[in-house]
Amino acid sequence: MTQTPTRPQTGTLVEQFEFGLDAPICLTWELTYACNLECAHCLSSSGRRDPRELTTEQCKAVIDELERMQVFYVNIGGGEPTIRPDFWELLEYATAHHVGVKFSTNGVRITPDRAAFLAASDYIDVQISLDGATAEVNDYVRGPGSFDTAIRALENLQAAGFKDAKISVVCTRHNIDQLDEFKAIADRYGATLRLTRLRPSGRGADVWDELHPRPEQQRVLYDWLMAHGDRVLTGDSFFHLAAFGESLPGLNLCGAGRVVCLIDPVGDVYACPFAIHDNFLAGNVLTDGGFQRVWQTSDLFADLRSPQTGGACSTCSFYDSCRGGCMAAKFFTGLPLDGPDPECVQGYAADALAGERQPPAPSQDHSKANPTRRQPVMLTLATSRPSAPPVSACAESPLAGFVPSQP
């Protein structure tokens, strides 16, 4: 085991967070790799159910452990979590055990009945994924019919009296100019808009070059967030934009393995939902003595909690707020982890991106073997990988809705 570095007795909260916590504050749990959709940018390359998926009993044991660790809430995603037959049962089990749930869904199972059930619970939050404010833009990446499915879910929730659903948008070059329209949709359904960053994770790696916002759009996004940020959630996903000047609200730090982590459908624990790769695999809840043990004693997490160097970023005057950006974005674009983010707004990654680089091969893929009629059309135009797939927690973002305050 790696030697744990000594934690300072004082220091800011962010400095404390860098040394990790006894339990995560932003835990994502993907319940299944199965999905009805095949989104082009799915962060978890979902599509097919993994036969090793945790059973209902195993899931309940994980919830028991989260309760013991006082993990107060968990972000559930997938795949499409609601297509697990025991999904609603697990939801009730979690909330009965003091683990609040926010789940991400494409809306497919949010029927009027389910909406009423959700409206009746205090501890469940629902997040509908929508990646375009029009069917045209949304369905381009999420597949035919997915816009209508999401809107129907929002209508059902509103009709049932569900308060404050979240609409989660992954920002791409096609929807940056729709930010006001997204806000209008959210207002129409009494929902809160949540914007997150497209990361080259999962199938996102295949389409990142084509979808990630252009440099001038980063500025548009930044200005929009500065103007509307108080009424929009971001899951703290845009701290690399802090290098435009002012920091955005939230924690400016990569929380991977420190305050953030992912439990995947087979119980593997990764440093971050956007880092599903062997390099960021800390252990497994079934074979490594449970989640607590993995979280508290894995070598990988000990490493991530030791002081990091800024590498090429350390001479940048924005390093304090930008911190070199997102580890997963660097890793999956084949950039050095201690250098600038691929979307460095000061332009320091441009040369490295243009030069020779070797993005890592995926270490797993649950994409459907054969595309279905749900496949977004862009895939056939844009990528070399024939299979397409689905998605969902497309937007699970670390530290979602989390407002640090420190009396």
Binding site: L13, D22, A23, Q70, F72, Y73, G100, P404, S405, P407
Partner: protein
């Protein structure tokens, strides 16, 4: 001096405290707010609130010296604003000497 010192307070019933190396994390199950208590004495004081007749007594029990009471009262007000702690209805402020 702030009137709060002589009042009876307690951790809100919907709040749970989770110990952390730097202090504690407080989570409110109702409004889903997460707050960090960065000083161990503040954690001790917040835990003592419900057992002590007054805020002053809770601060004393937590070993907070009197000259630091104003700073702690300010922190408690901030916690109160987020409904992390609440005034206890069952107790009345004692007449202190």
């Amino acid at each position: 001096m702030d009137g709060m010192l002589d009042e009876a307070w307690a951790l809100s019933p919907s709040v749970a405290l989770r110990p952390e190396p730097f202090g504690a994390l407080a989570y409110h199950f109702g409004n889903r707010k997460l707050t960090f208590l960065k000083r161990p004495e503040l954690v001790a004081a917040v835990r003592a609130l419900g057992e002590q007749p007054t805020v002053r007594a809770a601060l004393q029990a937590a070993g907070v010296a009197e000259q630091r009471h104003p700073a702690f009262v300010a922190a408690l007000h901030e916690l109160a604003a987020g409904d992390m702690i609440a005034r206890r209805a069952d107790a009345t402020a004692p007449d202190h000497p």
